[in-house]
């Protein structure tokens, strides 16, 4: 019979093993992609899959020769950061009004916003393509910034709304009693208090925009194509391509992965914000 202390230790150990197992399962595809990027095409397709092989940089050299990586990467940076900044400028005031000045239609509005995410994008491809064509937005970074902002806005508002709801109304009322203007109330009180949550919102929007492939493939050609379009150019139905595709995918993931790594403290704090009161 285990003592209470022993049971707790065992629970901690089991939880630790489970956490490591889940973490490794999530990380494994990324690890395999990285590994494959250093293989030859034959090694990449070998069965059974090879863990040990002679590494080569030839795939990276080939990607560098064939594609203008920096051009695609710059487009990704502009559209991801552009759409996130504009999205936050719209999401914060919207979430503020919904969280602190709730009306009988607030819940319905929130649900309606989320329902726009339930429509398969291909369903609106032709109308959006025609609008973009008529307004000269096809193959422009401005066009992608607009579409990414609109795609991510419901989630950004929802996240910001959830974080704002955790903040007691009384804190804002106290600030108002002390003579704060609306801007001061937002800037000096609300934003510092929900900093972790908003950082997580920003990061999620950046990741979603960075990885978005459907609209970037369909609305761009050569000028505004981001890294997702570059990845698509290395897939082929005739011929071996896994190693090259892995190399270009590694190059495409690297910037956002590094950015996520640097800001993981804010992300974890944001995601667990309000979890323990």
């Amino acid at each position: 019979m285990l003592s209470l202390k022993q049971r707790r230790s065992l629970n901690t150990l089991l939880l630790g093993v489970l956490a490591w197992g889940v973490a490794l399962a999530i990380f494994f595809p990324i690890f395999w992609m990285l590994l494959t990027s250093f293989k030859t095409e034959i090694d990449a397709f070998a069965t059974p899959p090879q863990l040990f092989f002679s590494p080569t940089l030839e795939n990276y050299t080939l990607v560098n020769e064939r594609s203008d990586y920096l051009h695609f990467a710059w487009n990704s940076v502009v559209v991801s950061f552009g759409s996130t900044i504009i999205g936050m400028m719209l999401a914060v005031p919207a979430a503020y009004s919904m969280a602190f000045f709730e009306t009988k239609r607030t819940k319905g509005t929130l649900l309606w916003m989320l329902s726009t995410k339930m429509l398969p994008p291909v369903g609106v491809l032709v109308p959006i393509y025609l609008i973009f064509k008529d307004t000269g937005l096809l193959d422009t970074k401005t066009g992608l910034v607009i579409i990414y902002t609109l795609i991510n806005l419901p989630i950004m508002i929802w996240m910001a709304y959830t974080y704002f709801k955790e903040i007691p109304k009384e804190v804002l009322e106290a600030a108002r009693m002390d003579g704060s203007s609306l801007f001061q109330e937002l800037w000096r009180v609300l934003l510092p208090m929900s900093k972790g949550g908003l950082a997580a919102t920003v990061l999620l929007s950046l990741i979603l925009s960075w990885n978005e492939a459907f609209w970037s493939l369909n609305l761009t050609a050569s000028e505004a194509a981001p890294l997702t379009a570059l990845i698509a150019s290395y897939s082929s139905p005739e011929g071996l391509f896994w190693a090259k595709l892995s190399a270009v995918s590694t190059l495409a993931c690297a910037p956002i992965l590094i950015f996520g790594w640097i800001s993981q403290k804010q992300l974890v704090r944001g995601l667990s914000f309000g979890a323990v009161k």
Partner: protein
């Protein structure tokens, strides 16, 4: 004084801008697929731009299915994002009929259109008008391991029958040694399993539609063909064959696990490349199998370059595609990458070259296979459609994708062949009725 200087500066800037816009290069955006031949074409862009400094090439390289969706959206909405489109034999006549493509008329005198295979030109035309220039073409053929055949006292005929293929597969199938009798496409898709299955159906005397556009999946021909296919691949194929496409089978054959494989002629260059294949020196080539007929037993496909009517730079685009599909381009590829890299299947002059025939051991069979394939006469009984492994009608993609899933399901064992064929008949009938080919 300052005002004068300011005015002079403004005028200078204005004149420079005007001059630079006058000599600005015409931008030509090319949408193309990612495969070896197209990547080489992209690599030779500089040579074209040296010849035509007033034309600036921009490339959009995409995976085949993504490109097809992207180009279809653009051309159907008159988007004008692309000046040159890489399209196949399926799209060329359909888009040509709709008036979406610029007819390929008044080609330069040295282009030598007569040098291009008539079957390829026929597949890219509608009503006698050519709408795209072929970049490369392919048929299908049988690849087999000469060493295994020799060791087992077998001999592969010039064109085997499917029955013979089954006999060979039975003898060569040794799964305990990681050696499978035959590899065939099983992955669902109109360009994946349905390409092979349609040619197999043709060989068994089947057709997609009768002369009144009624599907025939419940007839004995399709029943025989699909039962044979499922039985052959289930008994003598690799495990998980229903998810194998071209690339998966290529990897299996290259690693020495397939004794035979029927697929695109373009695979010949991969299988004989020692840097990719462990069995490069043992690969033999035969025509795609026949059965009750040899008509339509090998497919015909070409990737071609076309200029959409929505392009703002039609002349520059046409200049590019005539260059990229010319004999001079083939010579440039030969000088730069070697003779085996010359785009195959389009020009007779390529196959008149003894050096090419020596460098590409699969070339003579490819030539024969392309010569045999006739998109206008590919079925034993008369049919109303053009195309060997497809029917060149807009509805085909959707129908064949659904039918492909059913047959892949029958191969995976999730349904019977009977059930798959009945469902295929019902789906095809419904779609054709919806498209108003007939009232019921």
């Amino acid at each position: 004084m300052n005002k004068k200087r300011y005015l002079a500066a403004v005028m200078a800037v204005g004149m420079t801008a005007a001059a630079s816009s006058a000599i600005a290069a015409t931008k030509v955006t090319i949408g193309t697929v990612n495969n070896g031949d197209m990547v080489r074409m992209q690599g030779l862009s500089d040579e074209f731009e040296k010849l035509y400094p007033h034309i600036d090439l921009n490339w959009v390289v995409l995976e085949e299915n993504v490109l097809r969706q992207r180009l279809t959206t653009d051309i159907a909405t008159d988007g004008g994002q692309f000046d040159v489109m890489t399209i196949g034999m399926y799209e060329a006549p359909i888009w040509g009929e709709k008036g979406w493509l610029t007819p390929m008329e008044d080609l330069p005198s040295d282009y030598d259109l007569d040098d291009i295979f008539p079957s390829v030109l026929g597949g890219l035309s509608f009503d006698g008008t050519l709408y795209a220039l072929p970049f490369y073409a392919e048929s299908s053929m049988t690849f087999y391991r000469k060493d295994l055949f020799e060791a087992n006292g077998l001999s592969m005929p010039r064109q085997p029958s499917w029955d013979q293929m089954k006999t060979f597969a039975e003898k060569l199938h040794k799964p305990e040694e990681d050696q499978y009798g035959i590899c065939l496409r099983g992955k669902a898709g109109w360009g994946e399993n349905m390409a092979l299955i349609t040619t197999m159906g043709n060989a068994f005397g089947a057709r997609w539609f009768d002369v009144n556009w009624k599907p025939e999946f419940t007839g004995p021909e399709w029943q025989n063909a699909i039962s044979f296919y499922v039985d052959l691949l289930s008994n003598y194929g690799p495990p998980g064959a229903s998810s194998n496409g071209f690339n998966e089978n290529l990897a299996l054959f290259n690693s020495g696990k397939c004794a035979m494989w029927v697929d695109a002629t373009v695979a010949g260059s991969f299988l004989t490349d020692e840097s990719q294949s462990r069995v490069a020196e043992h690969v033999g080539f035969a025509l795609a199998p026949e059965q009750v007929t040899s008509k339509g037993s090998g497919w015909l496909w070409a990737w071609a370059l076309a200029v959409p009517v929505s392009s703002d730079s039609k002349d520059a685009a046409k200049t590019f595609i005539t260059w990229a599909t010319s004999r001079a381009y083939s010579q440039l590829v030969e000088e730069t990458y070697g003779i085996a890299s010359v785009p195959p299947g389009t020009r007779t002059s390529t196959y008149d070259n003894e050096e090419y025939l020596a460098a590409a051991p699969f070339a003579s069979r490819t030539l024969e296979a392309i010569g045999n394939a006739d998109p206008n006469n590919s079925t034993l009984n008369p049919s109303p459609y053009v195309g060997v492994q497809f029917a060149a009608i807009p509805e085909f993609q959707s129908i064949a994708t659904q039918v492909g899933k059913l047959i892949s399901g029958a191969l995976a064992g999730s349904m019977s062949v009977d059930h798959a064929l009945k469902a295929a008949q019902s789906i095809t009938l419904r779609e054709m009725t919806r498209a108003r080919y007939y009232s019921n």
